[in-house]
């Protein structure tokens, strides 16, 4: 059966070039970077090269890069590590549309006595800057707002928020897990103090990521052990994963112009063709301030899990914000936050494109959707 993967915001296939770069670090170059001998030095060299490569790609200095196990850990380290620097009750500002890696870390901080303000977004999924400014308090130590949302692709005004945070001396973190490689990610242009990246969303291996920590920004470790990663992330480094991450970041930068244009063409064509041929469809998220690979649509009178199943039977892999498909049976908090009615949330579909997708894939998806949506509407009680 034909298989079309369009769920790149969930994860991506590892690029063969990335695999090639990683392979030697499993077998021949397996050393521990902390060891004195040649094996250790080889690992240390790879680690340092990876750090420099990534730093170059995002406009950072190499000592500002801390390797982690992925986006989730980077977000945890940024938030808990910042709060760990202060005594007493801290106040954190974040948005309602953050990834659970941020939201659940904040919920944990609330449980242990800290304060969190969740800033709302408008109908397009863009954060309310005025509400953010007026929520700043004496004890606000951190603002964490994602660069681009993983469900609706909305791009947040990071520079603007960074300027506000900087002027108040508040540490600013952004989760750039979904934006890297899709829109420019340069720490100087963005003006952030902390920035999270995950490898497996950019054709790198799973279980690798990094946190950018601007010089002068102090954070505390959240795990304890040896002195790796300046003591901020102890534990023998995942060298192969880190090499994979660095190669994937480098590749994403090299391919940036070609990839982003290609994705934008596919995205716009998908939106246009779907809207033109199927009625009762709405586009969720901002029309232009959106990731070039993200399409989030709601289909009236059909439920998302049923859509996913029908598409899966045609070999098409996408995702939905419907509660019925999630393990927790909770509907998407992001779609609820943009004021989407419940039936539209249940009928939502996220299509996240990747560099391997073609216009043929788009046409296959659109024609499949035409058939499936009309079939499900025949069955539907709405």
């Amino acid at each position: 059966m034909k298989q079309v993967y369009m769920d790149h915001s969930a994860t991506t296939p590892v690029d063969p070039q990335v695999v090639d770069a990683m392979l030697p670090y499993f077998t021949e170059k397996f050393g521990n970077s902390s060891s004195f001998h040649s094996f250790g030095r080889e690992a240390a060299k790879a680690l340092s090269a990876a750090r420099h490569k990534i730093a170059d790609c995002i406009g950072a200095k190499s000592n500002e890069i801390i390797f982690t196990s992925g986006g989730t850990e980077s977000d945890n380290l940024a938030i808990l590590g910042t709060v760990g620097q202060y005594a007493g009750v801290s106040h954190i500002i974040t948005s309602v549309i953050e990834h659970p890696a941020v939201l659940n870390t904040c919920a944990y901080l609330e449980r242990i006595g800290h304060e969190v303000t969740y800033i709302p977004v408008d109908a397009d999924g863009i954060i309310d800057i005025e509400a953010l400014v007026s929520s700043i308090k004496e004890n606000t130590v951190l603002i964490s707002v994602m660069h681009a949302n993983n469900e609706i692709g909305s791009i947040q005004p990071i520079r603007e928020i960074a300027d506000i945070a900087n002027s108040k001396g508040i540490v600013f973190h952004t989760d750039a897990v979904q934006s890297l490689g899709k829109i420019p990610v340069n720490v100087n242009d963005l003006g952030v103090d902390l920035l999270s990246i995950s490898s497996h969303k950019i054709h790198g291996p799973k279980g690798a990521g990094m946190l950018y920590i601007k010089d002068g920004t102090s954070i505390s470790p959240i795990v304890f052990g040896g002195g790796h990663e300046r003591g901020l992330r102890p534990g023998t480094e995942n060298i192969s994963g880190i090499v994979g991450l660095a190669t994937a970041v480098d590749l994403a930068m090299q391919r940036y112009d070609v990839d982003s244009r290609h994705l934008l063409d596919l995205r716009n064509s998908l939106i246009e063709k779907t809207m033109a041929t199927i009625d009762g469809v709405r586009l969720n998220g901002h029309s232009t301030k959106r990731l070039p690979n993200n399409v989030n649509l709601s289909f009236r009178s059909v439920e998302g899990e049923s859509l996913l199943m029908m598409l899966d039977l045609k070999g098409i892999a996408v995702s939905t914000g419907s509660a019925c498909s999630s393990k927790s049976l909770k509907a998407s908090h992001v779609l609820a936050s943009i004021g989407l009615a419940a039936d539209f949330i249940h009928g939502s579909l996220r299509i996240s494109l990747g560099r391997g997708n073609s216009m043929e894939d788009i046409d296959y998806l659109v024609s499949s959707l035409q058939e499936i949506v009309s079939r499900l509407r025949e069955i539907s009680a709405l």
Binding site: S301, V302, E303, G304, E305, S306, M309, M310, L313, S322, A323, C324, S325, K327, L329, A331, A341, A342, D343, I345, H346, E378, I379, S380, A381, L382
Partner: protein
């Protein structure tokens, strides 16, 4: 994660539709929860001669709906009232863990439709 039976029933559901001048109609669910199941009955001499459904919902909602209509069709009112959730689950070779939220809804809709018929007949 879904059994072959579930997928079969989901992709080729029998008894989809409405019944004009139905003898009983039962509706359960809400758009907030993401599922609405409506079951329509035609009753001839105490036998469910026609049972149809319309469902907005997930794979479970649709596959249990069609199974309930198939189990009920041809049965007497009394027999149909005795259909249990286990009968539905058995007919589908079970459901994955965590997907039981809406698995009883179709049966609820059937029972509601039967109650509606009984109520209606009294007048």
């Amino acid at each position: 994660m879904y059994s072959k039976k579930v997928i079969e029933q989901f992709t080729n559901p029998l008894n989809v539709g409405t019944i004009e001048n139905a003898d009983g109609i039962g509706e359960v669910g809400s758009t907030v929860d993401g599922d609405i199941i409506t079951i329509y009955l035609k009753v001839d001499n105490g036998v469910l001669s026609e049972v149809k459904f319309k469902t907005f919902g997930c794979v479970v909602a649709i596959s249990t709906s069609t199974i309930v209509t198939q189990l009920a069709k041809g049965k007497t009112i009394e027999e149909a009232q005795k259909i249990t959730n286990d009968d539905v689950l058995n007919a589908l070779d079970g459901l994955p863990e965590g997907k039981d939220r809406c698995s009883g809804f179709a049966l609820d809709a059937l029972n509601k439709a039967i109650d509606n018929y009984i109520e209606f007949k009294k007048d």
